[in-house]
Amino acid sequence: MTSVKFDGVTKVLGESRAVDKLTLDINPGELFFLLGPSGCGKTTALRLVAGFYIPDEGGIFFDGRDQSRVPPHKRNTGMVFQNYALWPHMDVWNNVAYGLKMRHVPEDEKRKRVSRALETVQMLTYADRLPNQLSGGQQQRIALARALVIEPDVVLLDEPLSNLDAQLRLEMRAQIKEIHRKIDRTMIYVTHDQAEALSMADRIGVMRSGQIVQVGTPRQLYMRPESAFVAEFIGGTNLLPGRLEEIGDLLTVKTPAGVVHALNGVKDMARGDPVLCSVRPESVRLEPAEESGDVPPSDRINQLTGDVESIMYLGDSEQYSVRLADGALVRAVEYNPAVKKAEIGDRVVVKINAQDVVVLPQEEPDE
């Protein structure tokens, strides 16, 4: 098992710094995800590991060995390309056997290993087909077998499921995770699909503008985002702007719509800072306005009043958009919605628990 380290890596492509002073440690045997919106530099980072790019600054290390200038064919990484990159002039067998040929593996061992790899992805019966006779999902599995058969130090996957339909994507998620468990190798997986990352990853590095903004387990990232970007990108959230009033057991934030108490927040924030309260839609509860008694709205804690603006019924859930008095929009998700909670135009109270609120620093506007 191999560890992978980015040490202050910068890669300039054209005009932009695709990867910008990236430092990151990936543990041996880990299924590590690089997650971010398109153009964030995640694919560039992966191609730096494969050796298709040479870093302009910094270094890439496998188990402490500097790989920055090692050419791709000597790195022993196995890459699964986004469009699979199966050679159209070779049949499935020869596609998978290619890496072993390059390594001069003896004939009978080669045969065994190719068979085993094809068996692992359940494609042995397709060995003499040409790639263009296979469906997308089948091509995907051949690409995976081709990358795995060489027993690479690091397996690299570049959005491997993005060209598959939704159902197949779910199946392949489970398969890849299962393969990772079996072969016990370091895998770096690039995707923009947060559901894929949350459901599969040991750890996730969230990228933005060529830099890692937060690294953590899926649970850490979801429960304790450290920036509005991460909170919004992973899972979606409501962000209520306000000012940090008090720091104690609870954080008290004053928002135009009312006072919010929060249990969690990013460290090193000071009283008076402009902040954002992140509240996941599924932790928001809606109640009819008249049930909330006669305390004036501004004195109520974690209760915000607004009008239902739109409702979307999705079967397993129902999404409400509530326009607060100050104009901010709050989304609430009701699971297993047997009965409608409110109608469009109804006045409702939005209720939040303090442990579901994370206080985040307000970001400088995007450059």
Binding site: G14, A50, P71, P72, F81, A85, W87, P88, N132
Partner: protein, 564 residues
């Protein structure tokens, strides 16, 4: 029946157009071809293989067939060896002046090799410039017989003329190889020549084949160059000589059939060997990574290679140019006196002037026909589901694989003693021959245009109330206009410099087009060759100008025109 109708767009207008196209192809391609075949296989006593037995039992004829095949193979081989490194250097590396070098490589295309042969003859003759220079320098003391039997001189000239076509195809093929496929191979441990052999070249093969077959057919059936070098032992020259006495000697038919059969044979052989599958490249990843900036030393190497090859390619042009401005050139390396009077004589000499007028007239007509036919065919292919679509496509592309020699010969034979008899008035057949020969370029140019402009744009117009015809004129044609201009310019200039059709079909001086006039003038003593060279230079300028224009319109897609 009704389902058949439903599967096709067969309005009465479409049907009428189709009918007309079928008539055209049958009358001017299939009928002459079948006439040639029947002439080769039928004598007065019925079916017979006598001519082919004669051909194969004569060691002289067999040698001639072998010469032509060897010529084609040698030219294909050497153009490949020359173009492959060029394509690699220019596609894979970025360096200052890349566009300029790309243009330089294409320059030799602007000279019909048969004009270049005039210049080459001047330089390589027994007492030509090269020998005289070497004698002066004391390198040799006997003049070297460069032209030898003529075979290698013809090869040299054709290689120098045809390598740009090979280059365009190889460069396009290489640029089309999905960089991800090479990256996947590197990722699996391949590099250098191994990577090229196992992945890159196999993926280039279909593109290579497309260029190689054009080059082969061109060299295999070229008439002009061997004629000028007086290298008579090739099929093309033999056929040319047999046209005049077709009625007494039907061997001509058999030779033309042999050309067709051999062409088809090599077409299918290479298709089998080189792979006919066009690989569907899936969605592409990082295309940019395929081009790397060249280091300074590599840049120097690239410049040396390209400039060296271009210099070689320009030698024939130089020879023609020198000849055209020669006042006196006798037993000296360079002319001893210079003059530009031959350029003015081009426009006063009776035959020269007449031939220019003839060519302009013939080429304009043939280009008009090409525009009408080409746009119609391309439109039907790109936008309509017409019955027999693939046959129409094949017929329109057939002239690429059909040597001009075969077409011209077929016309002379098939239409003799009809109102179109070339012996009486060759103008209609010349126009049609030019048009048929260049039709594929026009169809391709227009087809590319139709493909690039989305159908949705037309649908949007119709959705807003434009009739189909209005849509065609107001939306479709303006969108593909650039392609039409480029295709027309190419058709026109190639027609102006068409060799084999002109030599074979135009039999009386009053009908000579430029190329035949050049050939005739070369044979005359006194100032004939000089006027011919001046005309060659003018032709060169015309072709250079039109290729440049067409290149502006097509930019990087130029290669797509010159392939099978």
């Amino acid at each position: 029946m009704s389902s058949w109708l439903h599967r096709h767009d067969l309005s009465p207008a479409n049907a009428a157009v189709l009918l007309f196209l079928w008539f055209f192809f049958i009358a001017f391609m299939l009928y002459p071809l079948s006439y040639v075949f029947s002439g080769a296989f039928f004598t007065d006593e019925g079916f017979s293989l006598i001519f082919f037995k004669l051909m194969l039992s004569s060691s002289n004829y067999v040698a001639i067939l072998a010469n032509s095949v060897n010529l084609g193979l040698a030219v294909t081989l050497f153009t490949t060896l020359l173009s492959l490194p060029l394509a690699f250097l220019l596609v894979r590396y970025d360096f200052p002046g890349k566009g300029l070098l790309n243009g330089l490589i294409l320059i030799p295309m602007v000279l019909p090799p048969f004009v270049g042969a005039i210049g080459m003859r001047q330089l390589l003759a027994r007492f030509g410039s090269i020998n005289l220079l070497l004698l002066e320098m004391g390198v040799i003391d006997q003049p070297i017989d460069w032209l030898g039997g003529g075979f290698w001189a013809v090869v040299l000239l054709e290689v120098l003329h045809l390598y740009p076509i090979m280059y365009l195809n190889l460069a396009a093929a290489l640029a089309n190889v999905d960089p991800n496929l090479e990256e996947a191979a590197k990722n699996m441990g391949a590099s250098g020549f191994k990577l090229f052999r196992t992945v890159t070249f196999p993926l280039m093969l279909p593109g290579y084949f497309a260029g190689a077959i054009i080059v082969f057919i061109w060299a295999f059936t070229d008439l002009g160059t061997p004629l000028i070098f007086e290298y008579r032992d090739v099929i093309a020259v033999q056929i040319f000589n047999m046209v005049t006495d077709l009625h007494q000697n039907p061997m001509g038919y058999a030779f033309v059939v042999a050309v067709i059969v051999l062409t088809l044979f090599f077409f299918y052989l290479s298709k089998r060997l080189l792979g006919s599958t066009r690989y569907e490249m899936l969605g592409r990843g990082h295309v940019a990574s395929a081009v790397t900036p060249a280091s300074p030393s590599l840049t120097v190497l690239i410049y040396t290679v390209v400039l060296g090859i271009s210099a070689l390619g320009i030698i024939p042009h130089l020879g023609v140019f020198l000849t055209s401005i020669t006042g006196r050139w006798f037993l000296s390396v360079l002319p001893s006196e210079y003059t530009f009077r031959f350029y003015s004589e081009v426009f006063s000499h009776e035959l020269a002037l007449l031939s220019i007028k003839n060519s302009l007239f013939l080429s304009t007509l043939s280009t008009l026909i090409d525009i009408v036919l080409g746009v119609t065919i391309a439109y039907l292919l790109a936008r309509k589901r017409v019955p027999g679509r693939s046959v129409l496509d094949m017929l329109a592309m057939l002239p690429l694989a059909l040597p001009g020699l075969v077409i011209a010969f077929g016309y002379v034979a098939a239409f003799s003693a009809t109102p179109l008899d070339a012996r009486i008035n060759p103008v209609p057949l010349l126009v049609i021959a030019y048009a048929v020969r260049r039709l594929p370029y026009m169809v391709r140019a227009a087809y590319a245009g139709f493909q690039q402009s989305s159908v949705v744009l037309e649908e949007a117009a119709m959705n807003l109330g434009a009739s189909p015809l209005k849509t065609l004129y107001q939306i479709t044609f303006p969108l593909v206009f650039a392609n039409l201009v480029a295709g027309a310019v190419l058709s026109f200039s190639f027609a102006m410099l068409e060799v084999s059709d002109s030599l074979i079909l135009a039999l009386k001086e009053q009908h000579y087009p430029i190329t035949k006039a050049i050939y005739a003038l070369l044979g005359r003593i006194a100032d004939g060759p000089y006027i011919a060279s001046a005309m060659g230079m003018l032709g060169l300028l015309l072709l250079a100008g039109s290729l440049f224009l067409a290149g502006r319109f097509f930019s990087r897609r130029m290669g797509e025109l010159f392939r099978a």
